[in-house]
């Protein structure tokens, strides 16, 4: 246990030495506090971010509404916070779900090899080749009632949320699958795994206790980068109207009317996009920092 905490302490040290990575970590923490500030703020002011007031459309900033009102007369600041919660949650959940698919495919291909490997990797390559956005739009347009969901559920906000999590996970698992396969192949024939095999450990045992923990670091880096990509996918889909549907805000769908807003109220078109940009940028830099921190070679470079 002490050895394990030792290596994580060293990694933490290396991450702290990575300026961009640390700055991103702090920025992400600040942004997380920002989107969570919605809860105390709503309780304190009693303003409902979904309540429209057509007499307050495009109201300029005031003390009660520091960023003013949007095209439907809703509080922009609160909607940015709630929208951020939705966007970030989609990012994390879809990454985890896609990660599970990717790890399953990658471990299966790398560990058992042979024909299964060939089949799974051809499939993965086929997926990688596809233009994902048009595919996501079609998946986003699927009528849920046609695949057996009740009409009531299909039109609820929850369906919109889970649909986007699931469809992004369905198309964005390939990078992780390839990475996991490559890492599994690298360690499959190592002595400690042969020893475990010789000692009679089953396949699942070996995967759970020897393979997964030893390929954890590249997976963590890949997960980080995936979160950034997923947030971009979510924003695009919601912007085009195939993702999170209003009244639930997300940073993407707050830009729904952006083309019209750019001329009438440019700030409304700037805020959500700038936040997406900031978050994804921070996530990518953090991924870079983690890669640096997890790479034992980087210690000698300093």
């Amino acid at each position: 246990m002490s050895a394990a905490s030792g290596i994580w302490a060293r990694r933490w040290q290396r991450l702290r030495g990575h300026r961009a990575g640390m700055a991103s970590l702090i920025l992400l923490a600040v942004l997380l506090l920002f989107v969570l500030a919605d809860f105390p703020l709503e309780a304190l002011t009693g303003i409902d971010p979904n309540e429209a007031d057509l007499f307050a459309r495009f109201d300029p900033p005031s003390w009660a509404h520091p960023l003013g009102m949007d095209e439907a007369g809703r509080d922009v600041l609160l909607r940015l916070m709630v929208g951020g919660q939705v966007s970030l949650l989609v990012g994390v959940l879809a990454t985890l779900l896609g990660g599970v698919i990717g790890i399953a495919v990658g471990v299966a291909a790398g560990f058992w090899g042979g024909r299964l490997d060939a089949l799974l990797m051809r499939f993965t390559d086929g997926m990688i080749a596809l233009p994902l956005l048009p595919l996501l739009i079609v998946l986003g347009a699927v009528d849920l009632t046609k695949i057996g969901f009740s009409s009531e559920f299909a039109h609820s906000g929850a369906a919109g949320f889970w649909r986007i999590v699931v469809i992004i996970a369905l198309v964005d698992w390939t990078a992780i699958a390839r990475l996991v396969r490559a890492s599994t192949l690298q360690i499959r024939e190592r002595d400690y795994i042969r020893a475990a095999r010789a000692a009679g450990a089953g396949a699942w045992d070996i995967i759970a206790t020897h393979i997964l923990p030893n390929i954890a670091t590249p997976i963590i880096v890949a997960f980080t980068l995936t979160v950034g990509r997923v947030i971009l996918f979510e924003s695009v889909l919601s912007f085009l109207g195939f993702g999170v549907v209003p009244p639930t805000p997300s940073w993407g769908n707050m830009l729904n009317n952006a083309q019209e807003l750019v001329t009438t109220a440019p700030l409304l078109a700037i805020y959500p996009g700038a936040l997406i940009f900031l978050v994804v940028m921070a996530v990518n830099f953090l991924g870079d920092g983690l890669q640096h921190a997890f790479d034992p070679r980087s210690e000698h470079q300093e």
Binding site: L130, P134, I137, Q259, P266, N284
Partner: protein, 316 residues
Amino acid sequence: MNRFILRRLLQSALVLLVMSFVIYGLIGLMPGDPLDVMVASVPGVTPEQIARLRAIYGLDQPLMLRYFHWLMAALQGDLGYSRSHSVPVLAVLAPALWTTCKLMLISFVIAVAFSFVLGITAALKPGGWLDGVISLVAFAGISVPVFWLALMMILVFAVELHWLPASGGSTVGDGSFVDQFRHMVMPVTTLALATTGGFTRFVRASMIETLRADHIRTARAKGNPPSRVVLVHALRNAMIPVLTVMALSFGSLFSGALLTETMFAQPGMGKLIYDAILSNDFNLALSGLLFATLITLLANLAADLAYAWLDPRIKL
């Protein structure tokens, strides 16, 4: 050589076939039904009549059978009629395909050129201030939502400065080269900016890796000038993985083109597919998506061939 190409061609054809079935199935799951428009324009249609119409158009047959009929027709070049444009699908697709390929290729070439310059510069002194600046720019390119970048370009260059037209492929009544060029500046810049970021990271990583290799040390030791070492000895080797990754990114380039076209109202494939899905134009959406898949598959094939051609260790 020929066997390698043949195998890759067969693989691509197989992927296209599988994709056509998947997309065919998914399109059928979109809201609405090919009969909706027909029925909506005739008041007082009875359910029996609708059922008879469904039988006439073969909509009551099982999915596999309908797909098979569609596939047979498609193989003979008949992709059906576009409902929203009222012309054969190919008549709408062909010009759009040209617009999109133009946008993608120009952006691609610009992105490749810039990324090589930036990536090599950054790799010369990893960790230096220039590397830091270039990394920041590259990460910005990777992280920016393309549609929002397009929006900001419109805001600055069309709305505020009035320098460039915000949308369309050309001004009505003025199809001159200069006019078309002015309409392409913003879409191409947007797509190229978004693409350069990722490419720069690839070039940088590959260059750093190559510059550490033994043959580079030998080349330096032999007294070659540094510029020759970098541009000849290192670049050639660093290019191999980079070109592959670049060609493999045609899928995401197409996704970017879809957004760029939609934002700038360019009459290309991306906008066509998007509008077709919104207006339930099933035939057009299906064919458009398949063509998009075909373009990426061809790009990947080209990447494989280029890879084999550049790396003498790979025997075709």
